[in-house]
């Protein structure tokens, strides 16, 4: 009898499962690499020297802890809950993504891998990974859909300046999903020498868990900082959800605090028909895409649907498996905000606070703008401002006719 046990059905007790979601749905060729990664990550996680090196980089290189900022003028203009912004946009490279890129970059180096590949949608993970690789002396190849390369051109140039090779992907929808497929094709071919630095809480185990762990600092700091400022927990935490890395990082420390509402904001795009949005919980169904079992926007034949969002980072047909579980258990709520609301939120935040949010993060700001007026002035709402909007200037110039 084989020593590998085959469970009759997916269950919560298995590593890499979030309820029935998650798991490992990959070609057999990748299994040895995923198991090696899981093993090495567990060892590194328990290694004080690894954690100290990571913390030192997060502090001195990336700029942690990030401020928790009371958005006084935004709050006053909405006449409701007090709004705090967790300023991940102030991190080096411009978004929360650097937390994970540094963590996995150190892990790649520790595992003796000289070549790093990654996918990117908005380019924030690509820039963060290119920076981490430059810092750590690793070769870096970034896959990016042709559509995303065009709409996030500035980030393409930044990655190249940082020494990364950016490879355009012209298959399928030419966006994040196709970049992930192409990165997986590269990995399956060069699996013995290459580290795949996945950028969201997606994909096969151990990625969703590992990426979440590297972003847990967001929620931890949020909790401590709010305790220092207000002496209590927030009433709600709001974050945008593409794959879901910034949201799971913000939510995780509050999962046990039942009084804290956790609200994930998906991209409502430009309409409710399949293909016009990226709201997986409104039109998606459980399925397997790119290594994990989660909610997937798909047609009746199980073909993956095209998606649309003004923000490249939310423009993806599936969602991290832990979010799928939090959705089903009701611990987190998932709503959507459309392109127009996100653009309005960019303007609102820019003009009330002098802060230009990334289009992704603007979806969370839009939800805060909807929710705050319905809450009491004594209540507290924290928005995870996951990234800054400099990268979006091309789109903003066009959309807002600046």
């Amino acid at each position: 009898m084989a020593s590998i046990v085959i469970p009759a059905s997916p269950s919560e007790s298995r590593p890499g499962r979030f309820g029935v979601y998650g798991g490992r749905y990959v070609p057999e060729t990748l299994m040895a690499a995923l198991m090696e990664l899981e093993r090495e990550y567990e060892i590194a996680k328990a290694d004080a020297a690894f954690q100290a090196e990571l913390n030192s980089l997060l502090t001195d290189y990336a700029g942690r802890p990030t401020p928790l900022y009371f958005a006084k003028r935004l709050t006053e203009s909405l006449c409701g809950a007090k709004i705090y912004l967790k300023r991940e946009d102030l991190l080096h490279t411009g978004a929360h993504k650097i937390n994970n890129s540094l963590g996995q970059g150190l892990l790649a180096k520790r595992m003796g891998k000289k070549r790093v590949i990654a996918e990117t949608g908005a380019g924030q993970h690509g820039v963060a990974t290119a920076s981490a690789c430059a810092l750590l002396g690793l070769e870096c190849v970034i896959y990016m859909g042709d559509v995303d390369m065009e709409r996030q051109e500035l980030n393409v140039k930044r990655m190249r300046l940082l020494g990364a090779e950016v490879r355009g992907v012209s298959s399928g929808s030419k966006t994040l999903k196709d970049a992930i497929s192409e990165a997986m094709r590269d990995w399956v071919t060069n699996v013995r020498t290459t580290y795949y630095l996945l950028g969201s809480a997606l994909g096969a185990h151990p990625y969703p868990t590992m990426v979440r762990d590297f972003h847990r600092c967001i929620g931890k700091e949020m909790k401590e900082q709010l305790r220092a400022k207000e002496g209590r927990l927030p009433d709600a935490v709001v974050a945008c959800v593409g794959g879901g890395s910034n949201a799971i990082g913000a939510f995780y420390e509050f999962l046990g605090d039942k009084g804290v509402r956790l609200i994930g904001v998906e991209a409502g795009g430009r309409g409710s028909a399949l293909g016009e949005h990226a709201a997986r919980f409104q039109g998606g169904a459980p399925g397997v895409l790119q290594g994990t079992y989660s909610y997937v926007l798909q047609d009746d034949d199980g073909q993956i649907a095209l998606t649309h969002s003004v923000s490249a980072g939310l423009d993806y047909a599936s969602i991290g498996p832990e979010h799928a579980m939090l959705h089903d258990t009701g611990r987190a709520e998932y709503v959507s905000q459309n392109d127009a609301a996100a653009l309005d939120a960019v303007v609102k935040l820019a003009r009330t606070e002098g802060i230009l949010p990334a289009l992704e993060s603007a979806h969370a700001v839009a939800e805060a703008m909807r929710l705050a007026p319905k809450m009491a002035a004594s209540e507290i709402l924290v928005v995870n401002l996951s990234g800054r909007g400099d990268k979006d200037m091309g789109i903003l110039v066009r959309e807002l006719k600046l």
């Binding site: 020593s3 990959v26 997986m184 397997v288 199980g302």
Partner: protein
């Protein structure tokens, strides 16, 4: 119908169903069987074929653009089974179309269509509990991939749960042609044989008679995929069956005397 390799070496032929049309795939499959293919793998086109190279990606796009659905592929299997009762028939798919169709309904319908086995590209053995049960109920053979990177405990599990044959991947990477067969392949097949008495078919990158002859030295069968799909891409729908038949006949030419 159990999968058998009557010829030496056996030939497994992969076709993307619906490329360029379902009628064309039927004609090509019949021609392939008559030219000596032991097993036909009917590929279910998928929107995001992450284990496939550009040739099969393009074929999948063409098949999907024509509206090819999993139920159509099962109907095609039924026609092939009726026309060629002795040929091996395997449904080859990514997992999501099967899940969407419904695992148990898929197994029942595939068995009713006369398929012998199923290969799900992105399903590893540990995640296959429900799948194995569904296929087992209707006596469909689960065919798993074994990779050069698979450690022995994985090969043991793959061997324990496979029926029909084991598909050994010749090299790390995606599907597609290559110049020479990696040394990985022979070593992998030797390791698989320690755990299984099932026939072993070697695939990925096999595109000519020389490769097939090399595979024959250490394995039971060769799987030809991208080379055939590319040939179909270059041919007209009318010419494709003849072109594929001649190609398959050519694959065994140096070994014609060994045919039982």
């Amino acid at each position: 119908m159990p999968i058998r390799f009557e010829h030496k070496p056996g030939l497994v032929i992969y076709l993307t169903a619906g490329d360029p049309s379902l009628d064309a795939t039927r004609a090509i499959a019949l021609a392939a069987i008559d030219a000596g293919a032991d097993v036909i793998e009917l590929g279910v086109p998928f929107s995001d074929p992450l284990a496939d190279g550009p040739v099969i990606q393009r074929a999948s796009e063409r098949a999907l653009a024509r509206g090819t659905r999993l139920r159509d592929v099962l109907a095609l299997a039924k026609q092939l089974r009726a026309a060629r009762p002795a040929a091996g028939l395997v449904i080859f798919s990514y997992l999501n179309p099967i899940l969407r169709y419904g695992l148990e309904k898929f197994a029942e319908d595939a068995a009713a269509a006369g398929a012998d086995g199923v290969l799900a590209t992105d399903l590893i053995v540990e995640e296959a509990g429900e799948y194995l049960a569904a296929l087992g109920h209707v006596h469909l053979a689960p065919i798993f991939l074994a990779a050069p990177t698979s450690p022995d405990d994985r090969l043991e599990a793959i061997a324990a749960h496979s029926r029909g044959f084991i598909y050994a991947i010749s090299r790390t990477g995606i599907t597609g042609k290559q110049q020479s067969l990696a040394a990985d392949a022979a070593a992998l097949v030797a390791r698989i044989r320690r755990w299984s008495k099932l026939p072993v078919a070697v695939g990925f990158g096999i595109s000519n008679a020389q490769h097939v002859a090399q595979v024959a030295e250490f394995a039971d069968a060769a799987v030809i995929g991208s080379a055939i799909v590319e040939l179909i891409e270059r041919s007209t729908a009318e010419a494709a069956p003849g072109a594929v038949a001649r190609f398959i006949e050519g694959l065994r030419l140096p070994h014609a005397a060994l045919t039982r």
